[in-house]
């Protein structure tokens, strides 16, 4: 058997995509024009799948701070905080994150992926129990694999099922850790965090919430679902990323528990990789300042995502359960999804093609993400192009139910 033969199913999946048009993994944007537009094959494309929720990638203050730091401190740190030391701005950023969340301390990581990997795998050790939502992001699954704890999945967004699975552990020693996300990245549905917090309190567990897609979006002050659900005091650890609403790259974990900072000397995803470069750290300090002081970005992205969500809903698309900045519409199968995605690009719109197993319930999706930088005209154009393509490919039905993560499974079982 050749070394790469085990990837035959991947090749088959890729062949199917290519048979239906472009290879999605080989798009080359020639120029990024703004948070909402790029040049592709010489044409201006509307970007509707970037997770650039607050449009801060071209924010003048962020670019200015970033470029000043680049000139002052150089292009990279060339090593980890443990080996090469901490730059002042690393410490400033960690302080600002902790202040933003009103917690004792925060630790930054080089990506959000590593933040999950580091936090979860280091916290949950041998004899402990990790209870993760079934639709968790790959980084949470990989963290679970890396941890020495026993890993149990609970049904997506189902606090009763979580309680049931915790009850099964009754009498067993070890800490319990519950892991959920603020907004789930495929269907844009938020976790029932208030109910999950009740389970946590009643059953005795630690609660970790990944706010990757909800930081700066949910809550009066943009602190995410924990704030919006009024359960910040119940959440022991918040994880997040700088790569979406904050417009850069990197990740963090924050906690109020004393002793949290010792993680720096135990967490391999923190210790054995280079720290964030100065230019990135400076831009995140600036973008975090912006979202802490200016609620208008949040208001704009919320209003734009509602415009897209209800526009598509009204046009007859099967949309996700809630209007959040991730708006996904269901496609009947892989081929149609690939064709739809290609036709959108022909018409000048870039969205994400999301296919199983990266999706819940084996759903085939066209996934859009909305930015506060989108204009109403851009959103309306997207709705009208998506509707026209859907009519052409016959994917619209009358009075479709809203998507639920179990929709695919339910269908294949029937």
């Amino acid at each position: 058997m050749s070394l790469f033969q085990k990837f035959d199913p991947i090749r088959a999946g890729l062949d199917l995509l290519v048979a239906n048009g472009r290879n999605p993994f080989e798009l080359r944007f020639e120029k990024i024009l703004s948070p909402t537009e790029a040049l592709l094959d010489g044409r201006t494309i509307l970007l509707l799948g970037t997770n650039n929720y607050l449009g801060l990638t071209f924010d003048p203050a962020c670019i200015e701070a970033s470029s000043r730091a680049l000139h002052a401190a150089g292009t990279g740190t060339t090593g980890s905080r443990i080996a090469n030391g901490t730059y002042c701005d690393h410490a400033v950023l960690e302080r600002r994150i902790a202040e933003f969340y009103g917690r004792r301390s925060a630790i930054t990581f080089t990506t959000g992926y590593q933040a999950n990997l580091g936090l979860i795998a280091t916290l949950a050790g041998h004899g402990d129990h990790l209870l993760i939502d079934a639709d968790s992001h790959a980084s949470i699954y990989d963290a679970s694999k890396l941890s020495n704890a026993e890993v149990i999945r609970f049904r997506h967004n189902d606090p009763e099922d979580l309680a049931h699975r915790l009850r099964r552990l009754k009498g067993r020693p070890g800490n319990r850790f519950i892991v959920t996300e603020g907004i789930y990245s495929m269907l844009g549905d938020a976790a029932p965090l208030r109910e999950i917090a009740v389970v946590k309190r009643e059953m005795g567990a630690y609660l970790i919430v990944d706010e990757a897609h909800s930081l700066g979006i949910l809550g009066e002050n943009g602190r995410g679902l924990c704030e919006a659900a009024g359960v910040e005091a119940d959440v022991d650890f918040i994880v997040g990323t700088f790569s979406k609403s904050l417009g850069a790259v990197g990740g963090f974990a924050t906690s109020d528990l004393p002793g949290f900072d010792l993680m720096r000397l135990a967490c391999r995803a923190y210790m054995f990789t280079a720290s964030l470069p100065p230019a990135v750290v400076a831009s995140v300090i600036a973008s975090l300042r912006r979202i802490s002081t200016d609620g208008s970005l949040r208001a704009r992205v919320i209003s734009s995502c509602r415009r897209l969500y209800f526009g598509l809903d009204q046009a007859g698309f099967e949309v996700g359960p809630q209007p959040n900045p991730i708006v996904a519409v269901r496609m009947p199968d892989r081929e149609t999804a690939a064709q739809f995605w290609n036709r959108l690009l022909d018409e000048g719109v870039y969205a994400n093609l999301a296919l199983p197993p990266a999706t819940p319930g084996s759903l085939c999706l066209i996934r859009c993400s909305v930015s506060s930088a989108h204009t109403e005209a851009q959103i309306d154009r997207a709705v009208s192009i998506m509707t026209a393509v859907a009519t052409e490919l016959r994917v619209l039905g009358a009075a479709r139910p809203h998507l639920s993560p179990n929709a695919g499974a339910a269908q294949s079982a029937s």
Partner: protein, 84 residues
């Protein structure tokens, strides 16, 4: 394999068949990963079905090496015995 007079393999096969697309034949020697057209998430969902059916926890690390229904059956039986 029996325990409490139960036919674990039979019960597991039944649950597995409900998950397998297009009525593919399934036996105790079927390779669960790769042999049935189930992707990684579908297999995890099947494990969840088993947890609820047998009312046990099946930690993911515990079944990492399991390949066939027969092996899964003995893993489940072991977990059930451990909880009594």
């Amino acid at each position: 394999m029996t325990y409490d007079g139960r036919n674990f393999e039979g019960e597991i096969l039944e649950l597995l068949m409900a998950r397998v697309p297009g009525g593919m034949p399934v036996s105790v020697d079927t390779q669960i990963v790769g042999g049935l057209g189930l992707d990684s998430v579908a297999i995890l969902d099947f494990i969840m079905d088993l947890e609820d059916h047998f009312d046990i926890s099946i930690p993911l690390d515990r079944i990492a090496e399991v390949q066939t229904v027969a092996e899964l059956s003995s893993a489940v039986e072991g977990l059930l015995r451990a909880t009594r």
